[in-house]
Amino acid sequence: MHALLDGLMQLWHETGIYLASQGDGWKSVVMVLVCLVLLYLAIKKEFEPLLLLPIGFGGLLANLPGTAEFMTAVPDTTRGAEAMGAFLGIFYYYGIESGLCPLLIFMGVGAMTDFGPLLANPKTALLGVAAQFGIFTTVIGAVLVHLYVPGVDFFDPSNTLLSEPQQVLRAAASIGIIGGADGPTAIYTTTRLYRELLGAVAVAAYSYMALVPIIQPPIMRLLTTRSERAIEMKQLRPVSKLEKILFPLVVLGLCAALLPSATPLIGALMFGNLARESGVVQRLSDTMQNALVNIITIVLGLGVGMKLSAAAFLRPQTLGILALGLLAFAVATASGVLMGKLMNLLSREPINPLIGAAGVSAVPMAARVANKVGQEENPHNFLLMHAMGPNVAGVIGSAVAAGVLIAVCSRLAP
């Protein structure tokens, strides 16, 4: 009888209710609520549900009190079988910290992406350049926040491997890349530079991508005149199969020549695209777009969710990241639109500046938004295919930007 009561007591001391009521346990409860909000947004509001549902559920699992041993333990390969990690920890370690999952998702994105609209009108790629301005201004913004906003800093004194400027720059770059509006790029960059922020950066990136139809239109309307928004663009020329096959090789060649640190992202993207366009490996292209990308999305989502721990997320920095991420999207949109206006002035052929907003990536949502805002002024205006050019150029642009951030931040002197 006594043993039974003892056993009952021990079970009780292991319950989530008991643990949540001890010490910092309440923080887990707050995180559970945060994750439930993410699930609500994913399911009810359809905010990028393919990612936010696994991330939210992974966050739930990671924040249940007393489950670390069964859920989030990360493998420690130097210690053999005794430390092979648990469910989410294994996903995180082998899938995300290794960089594999974001790269394989990018491969799937490549296999799903038709670069035809960009090839038909190459100069729209410049709109994809302008939209990356959001990334780099946000890096500056993050440094300013660290320096001048009390209570929000991106420096962990207990990290003795990296000096303060190194940490702050890496964190700022991880926050800035939210403005790339590209989930795999943001996750890959953050895992290379400052993993502590992974949860917040991923949540901000996917949430704002889902919010593109709300964030972009006011900015687009503010910066353009009615007549600009009504501009019709001339039909795109057909693109030959050969051009589409050569395109991924050309992009990879430029990347290798100029920016080796961007080759994992660009390489994966272009491998997927070559598999798609070559036409000779339909089986592989189908698998990249379906079974493989789905499996990897599950692993990536649950693994990223694991980084939504109370210790990492319930800090003033997270609010800073959310604010800076919003800034990044807004600046990127504005830069794209302004570049569109400039190109319209300089170009012989008319260019509707709205398609500049699609340069932020967020494929294909941003292109769809450009089309919709254009149709509000001129119902005969079909900008969708034109906006796909800057849209896919923006994917390449943010991968290149990620390469620069990784290269520069990795070699900063301590």
Partner: protein, 80 residues
């Protein structure tokens, strides 16, 4: 730090611009060369925004945009 952040801005935007500007040049050159030596065959689908005029739903417009890619997965999901 703030200096380094501005340095990142210049290096970064410079690299992105250099990369995509070069890509524009190469794509344009490729288009010229290929249209001379290997013109697009009639089965290369033209990308006509006019096609969209008959569309009434948002979803259909999207369907054109990401056409082939989603094709595969839709077929897969709908089973037929």
């Amino acid at each position: 730090m703030i200096v380094q952040a501005f340095e990142l801005l210049f290096l970064g935007m410079g690299s992105v611009f250099a990369f995509l500007a070069l890509l524009v040049l190469v794509m344009s050159a490729m288009a010229v060369v290929l249209q001379r030596f290997a013109p697009a065959s009639p089965d290369d689908a033209p990308m006509s925004p006019l096609l969209s005029e008959n569309m009434d739903s948002d979803a259909e417009i999207l369907a054109v945009a990401i056409a082939t890619a989603r094709d595969a997965s839709n077929r897969h999901v709908s089973g037929c």
